[in-house]
């Protein structure tokens, strides 16, 4: 960095007259020195202030410290105490113990600054971007005018325009994370040169892959992952948030709404009851942002400690994502380098004190050590198809209810006939037994298990002629559900089943279970607790204990009053299950027994002649008539089925973490020195850092500001009391970095005093204002930037710019860098023709080395890789295990997403080389690429010579044609591989894999030939260029 600084500091000399001292710029030259070397003791942390001297602003620095002594006397070097101290050879400032002395050039800068009047300017990042001066007429963006001007004055040679194919490849990678296909290259080249970029940019911005590409870096910022992070690192379910981010970018959601929904989607929905269901749902899914903190489900955790940890996590993340600020550094004391106070930190954290998410902290032993774990609150997310089906169910339900109402009153004749039937049934007496299953399963609906009925001649059936024999080593269950046969439970109804236990092989337990209203939580068991279904410590309707097993060798009737297993009168049973643990049991008729010939209240009401009955009695009898009317039963069954389908469909919808507001919010106190055990600090209300102003409450009468006020403040223009232009500056800088390799402000993650000032502040401001005024239109911003000359420049430095500007801070050339981990994967799969472009849904699990999760526990984990096509999906959909990220992603520097990552490092290690060489996914990609070139394109223009095929593989992967020397290396490798595999055909057969016969055999390609091509394609998929964006 020192080397960089020296070179850059020397740049202004180039433009100035020889020997003329360059003007000192406070922001660029002086503040970094003060911040780095002085502010630790003479900065913003009032508690750490030494000698009562602060150097943060002009007034403090020039204040009289003692009679006649001031740190800085503007224009008078010798009178300035600061100058005396920094040049004191015996006892210099900063003190030796800091191990960070001022360099000669820094001392010289301070000298020139004091001599020229020691002027201060507020830190650039806290100055609201100025309104731009109007650009040149007809100018789309001022990017080229400003950069060209800078290059001229700095004496930098700008690189020439990239060749068209390199440019297309760059654009494809930048906007979609994928290289162009050969067809896309041909189409690009066929366009008139002036139309190539505009038309291709439009095509790529409209591609669904655009959102996937943009999401990768956003998910880094907000630390999205599929697991909780701490201790057992259990899975949690929040992928609908990831899909929402992708969709938001694809649908070009304005960035201000994108911001509001994430920080406060719940409050947005609450404030607008008129939102359509799907929009409301999206806003809530987006509010899952607040739930992306790492959580711990470790036993023995202390609630208040983790409350403090989660708050710190949220403060750090939100301030870094939207403000490029390190407010989190003020957790224990005032920020030393930026004007964030210890109180500011807590007040900012108080915005998040209404997030209801402590269930797992309050009861850590309540089943949270499962995977996937629970993290209440979670919401169901209805897919569009399911939403459509639910509407249809609702429509049909209303229809059915309508037809129920449409059944007219019975005629007097019908009524009389029915009265006769009723009286004769009462006269017959006895109970009503509705046999559910006997001799055959004819209940309709769905079934599970063995439903074979038979008979051992030595044991006669108890009912009918046959029975079922269930024999098992362990747990076994047979059930029928969603049956046509349904029973309405009456007061006193009993569920019964006949069993005969084999004396030589008794089970440990048997269980009867009923299904009603979509739930199986109605169980009773005999024997021990070995059947785990529904098992609870306390007896409950979902698990009722009924003593020992009955005597063996005889038929015995199991029975349970239905109201004891949670089925009161009026419930409707539409399924039964028979479960046993071990042993041999004969199961015969199962039935529901209603006491008496008709329900007792009906018998009583029917005791008087029809004309003599009270209104109540008439009503009871009429209800009974309807309840036993076959037409009514049929309609009721339809309604129940619709209800069951709705329940099943709803329960199949995925869940996601979202934000639910806690009312009142948790109290937030200032924690002295960040110590959560110290509760002596004052209570704080939500507020933004004081020096940045105040949030405007949308409801002036509200007791406190909330997250939506915060989000509004972040995106509101200065005229409305917001910091929108500053937020815009942060985001624009991120997009610029994505497209140019380095930010206009190079410290993308920190715009504060310890960050690096922007190299072209006026350009950054201009773009920020323009972005905001465009309605925060992200695609428009990107379109403008990629259509500049600067974007199109070659990445090969011209002249001596590599030496003058090694970090490319002035963008005289394009950037060159390795692709992000996800796009390394995508690019290989794309070349191999394997990439599955399916989108959304649960994260996918590609193959990974066995045993990667061996250190996970609570519970132990088993990784089940996907075996269908989804294993070839894009990297953005890969399961993100915070503690054990997939080694391929890790080797290429994907972050573990424990905290905000603004800039991924780019390493170059042997572990990455091992992935490219040996990861089965990359071998599969090589296999796919080999198959593609051996098969040729479907239009019949199949290449037939080795050279043509090699060239095709090369062009598919690298977008360009190979040179003669490159072809020579490749064909040399191919020939050697042929020889090798001819000598060892068994190796060839292993390499081509099991799919070879299916795919290649019969096309005249031998295993040896195919293997040689796979090996050669591996080389292409191992090249530096394959994964380099030029």
């Amino acid at each position: 960095m020192e080397r960089l600084a020296v070179i850059l500091a020397s740049l202004p000399f180039v433009a100035s007259a020889p020997g003329a001292p360059p003007p000192v710029d406070f922001t660029r030259d002086v503040r970094p020195i003060l911040s780095r070397k002085c502010f630790a003791c003479h900065g913003l942390d009032a508690a750490a202030l030494e000698a009562d001297l602060s150097l943060v602003d002009f007034a403090s620095a020039t204040r009289e410290l003692a009679p006649g002594i001031a740190a800085i006397v503007p224009g008078d070097l010798d009178a300035s105490e600061l100058w005396r101290r920094v040049t004191d050879a015996a006892d210099p400032m900063p003190p030796r113990r800091a191990h960070d002395p001022l360099t000669d050039s820094e001392i010289d800068t301070l000298r020139r600054w004091i001599e020229s009047g020691a002027s201060y300017r507020p830190h650039w990042a806290y100055v609201v971007p100025a309104e731009p001066t109007p650009g040149a007429p007809g100018e789309a963006t001022p990017v080229d005018r400003i950069l060209d001007g800078a290059h001229a004055s700095l004496g930098l040679d700008s690189s020439e325009r990239s060749d068209p194919v390199t440019l297309l490849r760059r654009l494809s990678f930048d906007l979609t994370g994928l290289p162009p296909t050969p067809a896309e290259i041909d189409a690009f080249l066929a366009l008139p040169p002036a139309q190539r970029m505009p038309r291709t940019v439009d095509r790529l911005l409209a591609s669904p892959h655009f959102g996937e590409r943009l999401a990768v870096r956003w998910l880094d910022l907000v630390r999205y992952a599929d697991t909780v992070g701490y201790h057992g690192d259990q899975e949690h379910r929040v992928w609908p948030y990831r899909d929402w981010v992708i969709r938001a970018f694809n649908e070009d959601m304005p960035f201000d709404r994108f911001t509001r929904w994430q920080l406060a989607g719940d409050l947005v929905a609450e404030a607008d009851p008129g939102l359509p269901d799907d929009v409301r749902q999206d806003a809530l899914v987006a509010s899952g942002y607040n739930r992306l903190v790492q959580t711990s489900h470790e036993g023995g955790l202390q609630l208040k400690e983790y409350r403090a940890i989660y708050m710190a996590d949220r403060v750090r993340n939100a301030s870094e994502v939207w403000m490029a600020a390190t407010v989190g550094c003020a957790q224990c004391h005032d920020h030393k380098y930026d004007p964030y106070t210890h109180v500011d930190y807590h007040a900012f954290g108080a915005f998040f004190a209404d997030i209801d998410d402590e269930a797992h902290l309050r009861n850590p032993y309540d089943g949270y050590n499962t995977s996937p774990t629970r993290r209440e609150p979670e919401m169901r997310v209805t897919t569009p198809a399911a939403r459509e089906r639910l509407r249809e169910i609702e429509r049909r339900r209303i229809e059915a209810e309508g037809s129920l109402l449409a059944i007219g009153a019975p005629t007097p004749e019908m009524e009389a006939a029915w009265e006769r039937t009723l009286q004769s049934r009462i006269a017959e007496g006895g109970d009503r037994v509705l046999t559910w299953v006997d001799d055959t399963l004819d209940t309709g609906g769905t079934r599970s298990g063995d439903w074979t009925f038979g008979r051992d001649p030595s044991i006669p059936a108890r009912s009918g002629s046959t029975y079922r024999t269930q024999t098992s080593e362990g747990l076994v269950q047979h059930y029928t559900v969603d049956t046509d046969r349904r029973v309405r439970v009456e007061s006193g109804s009993v569920l019964e089943a006949w069993i005969r236990i084999d004396p030589d092989d008794p089970p440990r337990a048997v269980m009867l279970q009923a299904h009603a209203s979509g739930s199986w939580e109605h169980r009773v068991r005999w024997g021990d607790d070995s059947i785990p279904y529904g098992r609870t410590d306390q007896d409950s309707p979902g698990y009722r204990r009924r003593g020992r097993l009955p005597a063996t060798g005889v038929w015995h009737r199991l029975e349970i009053p239905l109201d004891e297993i949670g089925l009161p009168a009026g419930s409707r049973i539409d399924g039964v299950a028979f479960t046993q643990h071990g042993g041999k049991v004969l199961w015969d008729a199962a039935s529901v027994r209603h006491p008496g010939p008709v329900p007792p209240e009906v018998a009583e009401a029917a005791g008087r002649p029809p004309g003599d009955r009270s209104p109540d009695a008439r009503r009871i009898i009429e209800e009974h008539r309807r309840a036993t009317d076959p037409v009514v039963i049929a309609i009721d069954t339809t309604i129940e089925r619709l209800d069951a389908e709705r329940l099943a469909l709803e329960s199949m919808q995925p869940t996601t973490l979202y934000t639910r507001r806690l009312d009142p919010p948790r109290e937030v106190r200032v924690m002295p020195r960040g110590d959560w055990l110290d509760e002596s600090g004052p209570v704080v209300e939500p507020a933004v850092p004081v020096f940045l102003g105040e949030v405007v409450r949308r409801d002036p009468d509200a007791i406190r500001a909330d997250r939506l006020d915060l989000a509004n403040w972040l995106v509101a223009p200065a005229t409305e009391g917001g910091v929108g232009p500053m937020t815009a500056r942060v985001f624009v800088n991120r997009i610029w970095t994505m497209l140019f390799g380095e930010g206009i402000c190079p410290s993308e993650e920190d715009f504060g005093g310890q960050g690096r000032p922007p190299t072209h502040p006026e350009l950054l401001d201009l773009l920020a204002i323009d972005f905001m005024e465009s309605g925060w239109n992200v695609k428009r911003l990107i379109r403008r930037l990629v259509l500049t000359d600067a974007y199109a420049r070659s990445s090969v430095p011209a002249g001596d710019t590599a030496a003058l500007d090694p970090g490319n801070l002035h963008f005289a050339r394009q950037a060159r860098h390795r692709l992000d981990a996800e796009f390394v994967r995508d690019t290989a799969l794309h070349a191999g023709g394997l990439l599955d472009t399916g989108r959304g849904g649960p994260s996918i699990k590609p193959p990974q080395p066995p045993g990667l999760y061996r250190h996970l526990n609570f519970p132990p984990r088993r990784y089940e890789p996907d075996t269908d096509r989804s294993q070839w999906r894009r990297g953005v959909y890969v399961h993100w295990q915070r503690q054990f990220l997939h080694p391929m992603l890790k080797a290429f520097d994907a972050p573990n997403r424990e905290s905000c990552t603004a800039t991924r490092p780019v390493s170059n290690t042997p572990l990455a080389a091992l992935v490219l060489m040996n990861d089965p996914v990359f071998v599969a990609a090589a296999r796919g690429l080999a198959a593609r070139v051996l098969e040729g394109p479907s239009d019949g223009s199949a290449p037939t010579s080795d050279h043509d095929r090699l060239a095709r593989a090369w062009r598919i992967t690298l977008s360009r044609n190979p040179s003669d020397s490159e072809l020579m290396v490749l064909s040399g490798l191919l020939d050697r591989a042929r020889t090798t595999f001819e000598e060892h055909p068994e190796n060839a057969r292993t390499l081509v894999g099991a799919d070879f016969t299916k795919n290649m055999h019969g096309r005249g390609v031998t295993a040896i030939e195919f293997a040689a091509w796979i090996h050669t394609c591996r080389a292409i998929l191992n090249l530096h260029e394959t994964y380099t964006r030029e």
Partner: protein
């Protein structure tokens, strides 16, 4: 963006080794492993005289009880079953015993004096006891985190803030790698023992330091390193034709683009190819003598702590700077006696064997060995029954150090009479870090990296002290 690495390299040397500029070529050379150390590259040596060249850290994950290992508390035995005096515990952090009645649990162990130094060590550790004169016992450790995951993070990185480098990364950052073919920071975890504690890969992360400094986990079973084995059907000869062709093609590309990163890519591919041979050779301990295997109790390929201790020695011999072993069975909330038997059976003999093996090979003098967990255990009992346990405890616990300039045969610091709070010569985790760095020739105050506006150090911002009393 590769400039980040170059900058960090440059920074490390400027801020730490003195002002020396590094060209891109040199920066690439120092990509791990294989990169020669700072010294080998002709740079200035570390500023202090190092006593240790490498570290073997034996992490007893879960938190072993100090009261059953090194901290003998007769008074606690007398109070066995009595209520724990409230004066000890009031206002103190507590884990699973929150809201429970607190009763004293006397030590389940018998203590004896060992060696010429007469160090007090429990009968649970008969083998380590034979090394009494080589180890420095610290009975006054304190940490700040009471749950496993953050406590490991604190022990490894000095903080619970995310994305901070583990000590193994710090040491490699400060000293560079000594090995041509191996990473400078290797992690081995062991199988066997009771229900194991989860250990996150974060514990050996390089945090914000370049990923080349991250710990690489070697596996005692299966592929020793991810993807180190050729794809099925590819022989070593075949793989070498691939590496050659890729290098040739990359070179051709470098000729057109003048991309300096390509040279590094070529080197990394070649190195990866060499590792494919060297790592399996390293991990195969069948070439050790039967006597050595027996001394450790190691069975080749069993993935045990014993095998890993032997591997630690082999890694040390091959120049790995920081070797971190985890045994994950020490979280004894219940069944203390039973599981102390299990864990000590797995760990005691191999630990002692490692010390003796290093010593007889003359390697102990420049190898620092550290033994301990992320915290200790309460003097109070947890759970009932015939064999209760102890909860997590952070106010006082024990560790030991040996070799690498450590003075053997000393016991440093003490807890109060019930073994609750460290009261004499308290050694905070950051003091341990400062001491380890000191022995390696690194000044903990100067080993820093700028990150998010701070000069971040392993020992953090609070004062840390080198424990000179245990240095020879």
């Amino acid at each position: 963006m590769p400039d980040i690495l170059a900058e960090l390299d440059a920074l490390s040397r400027r801020r730490f080794l003195g002002a020396l500029s590094m060209g891109i070529g040199a920066a690439s050379l120092s990509q791990w492993p294989g990169g020669p150390s700072a010294a080998a590259a002709g740079l200035a040596p570390p500023p202090m005289i190092p006593k240790a060249k490498r570290v073997i850290f034996l992490c007893m994950a879960g938190g072993p009880s100090h009261l059953e290992t090194f901290d003998h508390k007769p008074r606690l035995v007398e109070l066995d079953g009595q209520p724990m005096p409230g004066s000890y515990t009031r206002g103190m952090p507590i884990a699973q015993l929150q809201g429970k009645e607190l009763r004293c649990l006397g030590s389940r162990a018998t203590f004896r004096r060992h060696g010429e130094s007469g160090q007090s060590i429990s009968d649970y550790l008969p083998h380590i006891a034979t090394c009494a004169d080589d180890i420095a016992i610290v009975n006054s450790m304190v940490t700040e985190q009471i749950n496993h995951d953050p406590a490991h993070a604190f022990m490894n990185t000095g903080t619970i803030l995310p994305d901070r480098p583990s000590m193994g990364s710090w040491v490699n950052y400060g000293l560079g790698s000594l090995s041509e073919n191996l990473p400078g920071f290797v992690v081995l975890t062991s199988v066997g023992g009771r229900n194991p504690q989860p250990i996150a890969a974060r514990q050996w992360s390089s945090g914000f330091l370049p990923s080349k400094l991250a710990g690489v986990e070697f596996h005692g079973q299966g592929d020793p390193v991810h993807y180190v084995t050729n794809p099925p059907g590819i022989t070593t000869d075949c793989q070498s034709t691939l590496v050659d062709a890729v290098a040739e093609l990359n070179r051709l590309r470098a000729g057109t683009t003048r991309d300096p990163e390509i040279a590094s890519r070529i080197a990394q591919h070649e190195l990866a190819f060499r590792m494919q041979a060297s790592i399996p050779e390293l991990m195969d301990i069948t070439d050790e003598s039967p006597e050595t295997l027996e001394m450790y109790g190691a069975v080749p390929g069993d993935g045990s702590f014993a095998s890993n201790c032997l591997l630690a020695r082999r890694l040390a011999e091959r120049g790995v700077r920081f070797i971190h072993l985890y045994h994950r069975g020490w979280d004894h909330h219940g069944g203390l006696k039973q599981y102390m038997d299990v864990c000590c059976d797995k760990c005691d003999q191999p630990t002692a064997a490692l010390l003796k093996d290093l010593k007889r090979r003359g390697m102990l003098e420049d190898t620092l060995v550290v033994w301990g967990g992320e915290f200790g255990r309460t003097p109070m009992s947890q759970g009932g029954g015939s064999d209760p346990g102890r909860d997590h405890h952070i106010k006082g616990f024990s560790m030991f150090l040996a070799g690498g300039g450590v003075r053997g045969g000393v016991t440093h610091g003490a807890t109060d009479e019930l073994g609750y709070e460290a009261v004499q010569d308290v050694v905070h985790v950051r003091d341990l870090h400062a001491t380890m760095l000191h022995l390696l020739g690194l000044d903990h105050q100067r080993l820093s990296v700028p990150h998010q506006g701070l000069d971040v150090r392993l020992t953090g911002v609070e004062p840390a002290r080198v424990v000179r009393e245990i240095i020879a």
